[in-house]
Protein backbone atom coordinates (compact mmCIF):
# COMPACT_ATOMS: atom_id res chain seq x y z
CA UNK A 1 0.00 0.00 0.00
CA UNK A 2 1.43 3.39 -0.99
CA UNK A 3 1.97 6.22 1.47
CA UNK A 4 -0.80 8.21 -0.15
CA UNK A 5 -3.35 5.44 0.28
CA UNK A 6 -2.30 5.07 3.90
CA UNK A 7 -2.71 8.80 4.52
CA UNK A 8 -6.12 8.79 2.84
CA UNK A 9 -7.19 5.80 4.92
CA UNK A 10 -6.09 7.52 8.15
CA UNK A 11 -7.93 10.68 7.06
CA UNK A 12 -11.12 8.69 6.40
CA UNK A 13 -10.84 6.71 9.66
CA UNK A 14 -10.40 9.96 11.58
CA UNK A 15 -13.55 11.51 10.10
CA UNK A 16 -15.88 8.50 10.25
CA UNK A 17 -14.84 7.67 13.82
CA UNK A 18 -15.33 11.35 14.74
CA UNK A 19 -18.93 11.26 13.54
CA UNK A 20 -19.68 8.10 15.54
CA UNK A 21 -17.94 9.48 18.66
CA UNK A 22 -19.88 12.75 18.40
CA UNK A 23 -23.19 10.89 18.01
CA UNK A 24 -22.54 8.60 20.98
CA UNK A 25 -21.40 11.56 23.08
CA UNK A 26 -24.61 13.43 22.25
CA UNK A 27 -26.55 10.35 23.45
CA UNK A 28 -24.53 10.29 26.71
CA UNK A 29 -25.16 13.98 27.39
CA UNK A 30 -28.89 13.62 26.72
CA UNK A 31 -29.06 10.48 28.86
CA UNK A 32 -27.41 12.17 31.85
CA UNK A 33 -29.51 15.32 31.45
CA UNK A 34 -32.73 13.26 31.51
CA UNK A 35 -31.66 10.59 33.99
CA UNK A 36 -29.78 12.74 36.51
CA UNK A 37 -27.88 10.64 39.05
CA UNK A 38 -27.96 6.84 39.11
CA UNK A 39 -27.96 4.29 41.90
CA UNK A 40 -25.56 1.35 41.52
CA UNK A 41 -28.25 -1.04 40.24
CA UNK A 42 -29.50 1.45 37.65
CA UNK A 43 -25.96 2.30 36.55
CA UNK A 44 -25.06 -1.36 36.07
CA UNK A 45 -28.33 -2.18 34.36
CA UNK A 46 -27.82 0.70 31.91
CA UNK A 47 -24.27 -0.40 31.06
CA UNK A 48 -25.13 -4.11 30.85
CA UNK A 49 -27.97 -3.65 28.34
CA UNK A 50 -27.07 -5.49 25.10
CA UNK A 51 -27.68 -2.37 22.99
CA UNK A 52 -25.29 -0.47 25.23
CA UNK A 53 -22.78 -3.32 24.97
CA UNK A 54 -22.73 -3.08 21.17
CA UNK A 55 -22.90 0.73 20.92
CA UNK A 56 -20.38 1.12 23.76
CA UNK A 57 -17.95 -1.36 22.20
CA UNK A 58 -18.29 0.59 18.95
CA UNK A 59 -17.51 3.76 20.87
CA UNK A 60 -14.39 2.28 22.45
CA UNK A 61 -13.14 0.91 19.11
CA UNK A 62 -13.82 4.24 17.39
CA UNK A 63 -12.01 6.01 20.24
CA UNK A 64 -8.97 3.73 19.88
CA UNK A 65 -8.73 4.35 16.12
CA UNK A 66 -9.39 8.08 16.45
CA UNK A 67 -6.93 8.49 19.32
CA UNK A 68 -4.25 6.53 17.50
CA UNK A 69 -4.47 8.58 14.28
CA UNK A 70 -4.47 11.83 16.28
CA UNK A 71 -1.60 11.03 18.63
CA UNK A 72 0.43 9.53 15.79
CA UNK A 73 0.01 12.77 13.81
CA UNK A 74 1.10 14.85 16.81
CA UNK A 75 4.20 12.71 17.42
CA UNK A 76 5.19 12.67 13.73
CA UNK A 77 4.76 16.47 13.53
CA UNK A 78 6.63 17.52 16.65
CA UNK A 79 9.17 14.77 17.41
CA UNK A 80 11.86 14.66 14.72
CA UNK A 81 14.31 12.34 16.53
CA UNK A 82 13.71 8.79 15.35
CA UNK A 83 14.43 7.00 18.65
CA UNK A 84 12.19 9.32 20.66
CA UNK A 85 9.53 9.02 17.99
CA UNK A 86 9.50 5.23 18.14
CA UNK A 87 9.48 5.28 21.94
CA UNK A 88 6.53 7.68 22.14
CA UNK A 89 4.61 5.87 19.40
CA UNK A 90 5.10 2.58 21.25
CA UNK A 91 4.12 4.02 24.63
CA UNK A 92 1.03 5.82 23.38
CA UNK A 93 -0.05 2.82 21.30
CA UNK A 94 0.34 0.56 24.33
CA UNK A 95 -1.53 3.00 26.58
CA UNK A 96 -4.39 3.31 24.09
CA UNK A 97 -4.63 -0.43 23.45
CA UNK A 98 -4.46 -1.33 27.16
CA UNK A 99 -7.11 1.25 28.12
CA UNK A 100 -9.33 0.31 25.20
CA UNK A 101 -9.26 -3.43 25.82
CA UNK A 102 -9.75 -2.79 29.54
CA UNK A 103 -12.90 -0.79 28.71
CA UNK A 104 -14.14 -3.51 26.33
CA UNK A 105 -13.57 -6.12 29.03
CA UNK A 106 -15.59 -4.03 31.51
CA UNK A 107 -18.50 -3.82 29.06
CA UNK A 108 -18.29 -7.58 28.45
CA UNK A 109 -18.17 -8.36 32.19
CA UNK A 110 -21.10 -6.03 32.88
CA UNK A 111 -23.13 -7.76 30.16
CA UNK A 112 -22.25 -11.28 31.32
Amino acid sequence: MSRHTYALRAWLIQRFSAVYLAGFLAYLVIHFLIQGSHGYAEWRAWLSHPAMGIAGAGFVLALMLHGWVGVRDIILDYIPALGMRLLLLTLSGALLAASGFWALRLLLLAAG
Binding site: W43, L47, L63, L96, W102, A103, L106, L109
Partner: protein
Protein backbone atom coordinates in the same frame (compact mmCIF):
# COMPACT_ATOMS: atom_id res chain seq x y z
CA UNK B 1 25.32 43.80 4.71
CA UNK B 2 21.54 43.42 4.90
CA UNK B 3 19.39 46.05 3.29
CA UNK B 4 16.63 47.87 5.20
CA UNK B 5 14.04 45.78 3.46
CA UNK B 6 15.65 42.52 4.52
CA UNK B 7 15.85 43.67 8.09
CA UNK B 8 12.21 44.54 8.12
CA UNK B 9 10.94 41.35 6.50
CA UNK B 10 12.95 38.85 8.57
CA UNK B 11 11.75 38.21 12.13
CA UNK B 12 14.46 38.93 14.70
CA UNK B 13 13.23 36.36 17.23
CA UNK B 14 10.48 33.79 17.46
CA UNK B 15 9.00 34.54 20.86
CA UNK B 16 5.72 32.62 20.97
CA UNK B 17 4.15 35.29 23.18
CA UNK B 18 4.98 38.07 20.71
CA UNK B 19 3.93 36.31 17.52
CA UNK B 20 0.34 37.01 16.61
CA UNK B 21 -1.40 33.83 15.50
CA UNK B 22 -4.38 33.97 13.17
CA UNK B 23 -7.53 32.83 14.99
CA UNK B 24 -7.80 29.66 12.89
CA UNK B 25 -4.33 28.61 14.05
CA UNK B 26 -5.43 29.02 17.68
CA UNK B 27 -8.48 26.83 17.04
CA UNK B 28 -6.28 24.27 15.32
CA UNK B 29 -3.56 24.08 17.98
CA UNK B 30 -6.21 23.97 20.72
CA UNK B 31 -7.83 21.10 18.81
CA UNK B 32 -4.56 19.17 19.07
CA UNK B 33 -3.97 20.10 22.69
CA UNK B 34 -7.51 19.12 23.69
CA UNK B 35 -7.18 15.84 21.79
CA UNK B 36 -3.94 15.09 23.64
CA UNK B 37 -5.58 15.86 27.00
CA UNK B 38 -8.50 13.55 26.14
CA UNK B 39 -6.04 10.83 25.12
CA UNK B 40 -4.25 11.16 28.48
CA UNK B 41 -7.50 11.17 30.48
CA UNK B 42 -8.86 8.05 28.74
CA UNK B 43 -7.05 5.53 31.06
CA UNK B 44 -8.23 7.48 34.13
CA UNK B 45 -11.83 7.43 32.90
CA UNK B 46 -11.65 3.67 32.27
CA UNK B 47 -10.22 3.18 35.75
CA UNK B 48 -13.14 5.18 37.17
CA UNK B 49 -15.59 3.07 35.15
CA UNK B 50 -13.98 -0.08 36.55
CA UNK B 51 -14.37 1.18 40.15
CA UNK B 52 -17.96 2.21 39.53
CA UNK B 53 -18.97 -1.23 38.24
CA UNK B 54 -17.39 -3.51 40.89
CA UNK B 55 -19.97 -3.43 43.71
CA UNK B 56 -22.26 -0.92 45.48
CA UNK B 57 -19.57 0.14 47.99
CA UNK B 58 -17.00 0.70 45.24
CA UNK B 59 -19.64 2.60 43.23
CA UNK B 60 -20.33 4.88 46.21
CA UNK B 61 -16.59 5.42 46.51
CA UNK B 62 -16.29 6.27 42.80
CA UNK B 63 -19.15 8.77 43.07
CA UNK B 64 -17.53 10.26 46.20
CA UNK B 65 -14.36 10.86 44.15
CA UNK B 66 -16.26 13.12 41.78
CA UNK B 67 -16.82 15.58 44.63
CA UNK B 68 -13.14 15.77 45.55
CA UNK B 69 -11.48 19.13 44.70
CA UNK B 70 -8.64 17.78 42.53
CA UNK B 71 -10.99 15.64 40.51
CA UNK B 72 -13.32 18.58 39.96
CA UNK B 73 -10.41 20.77 38.85
CA UNK B 74 -9.23 18.06 36.45
CA UNK B 75 -12.79 17.65 35.19
CA UNK B 76 -12.82 21.33 34.16
CA UNK B 77 -9.86 20.67 31.84
CA UNK B 78 -11.43 17.48 30.54
CA UNK B 79 -14.73 19.30 29.96
CA UNK B 80 -12.97 22.07 28.03
CA UNK B 81 -11.03 19.50 26.00
CA UNK B 82 -14.18 17.58 25.15
CA UNK B 83 -16.21 20.66 24.21
CA UNK B 84 -13.45 22.37 22.23
CA UNK B 85 -12.43 19.15 20.47
CA UNK B 86 -16.04 18.41 19.53
CA UNK B 87 -16.84 21.94 18.29
CA UNK B 88 -13.54 22.42 16.45
CA UNK B 89 -13.89 18.90 15.01
CA UNK B 90 -17.37 19.69 13.67
CA UNK B 91 -15.96 22.88 12.15
CA UNK B 92 -13.17 20.93 10.42
CA UNK B 93 -15.67 18.34 9.16
CA UNK B 94 -17.83 21.10 7.67
CA UNK B 95 -14.79 22.73 6.08
CA UNK B 96 -13.83 19.32 4.62
CA UNK B 97 -17.31 19.18 3.11
CA UNK B 98 -16.77 22.61 1.59
CA UNK B 99 -18.94 24.50 4.09
CA UNK B 100 -17.45 27.72 5.48
CA UNK B 101 -14.17 27.55 3.56
CA UNK B 102 -14.34 31.22 2.63
CA UNK B 103 -11.87 33.31 4.64
CA UNK B 104 -14.15 35.62 6.61
CA UNK B 105 -16.60 32.79 7.36
CA UNK B 106 -13.75 30.52 8.49
CA UNK B 107 -12.39 33.25 10.75
CA UNK B 108 -15.82 33.90 12.23
CA UNK B 109 -16.45 30.18 12.87
CA UNK B 110 -13.00 29.87 14.49
CA UNK B 111 -13.83 32.74 16.88
CA UNK B 112 -17.21 31.13 17.57
CA UNK B 113 -15.67 27.73 18.37
CA UNK B 114 -12.96 29.19 20.66
CA UNK B 115 -15.42 31.46 22.47
CA UNK B 116 -18.30 29.00 22.72
CA UNK B 117 -16.02 26.32 24.20
CA UNK B 118 -14.82 28.75 26.91
CA UNK B 119 -18.39 29.94 27.55
CA UNK B 120 -19.70 26.39 27.93
CA UNK B 121 -16.83 25.55 30.30
CA UNK B 122 -17.78 28.58 32.41
CA UNK B 123 -21.30 27.13 32.48
CA UNK B 124 -19.86 23.76 33.52
CA UNK B 125 -17.84 25.41 36.32
CA UNK B 126 -20.97 27.19 37.52
CA UNK B 127 -22.80 23.86 37.51
CA UNK B 128 -20.21 21.91 39.55
CA UNK B 129 -19.31 24.64 42.07
Amino acid sequence: MPTMQNQRSAPVFLNLFRIHFPVGAVTSIAHRLSGLLLFLSFPLLVYWLDLSLRDPASYANAVEWLHCGWVRLASVFIAWSLIHHLLAGLRFLLIDLGVGVERTTARRSAWTVNGLALLLVLGYIGWIV
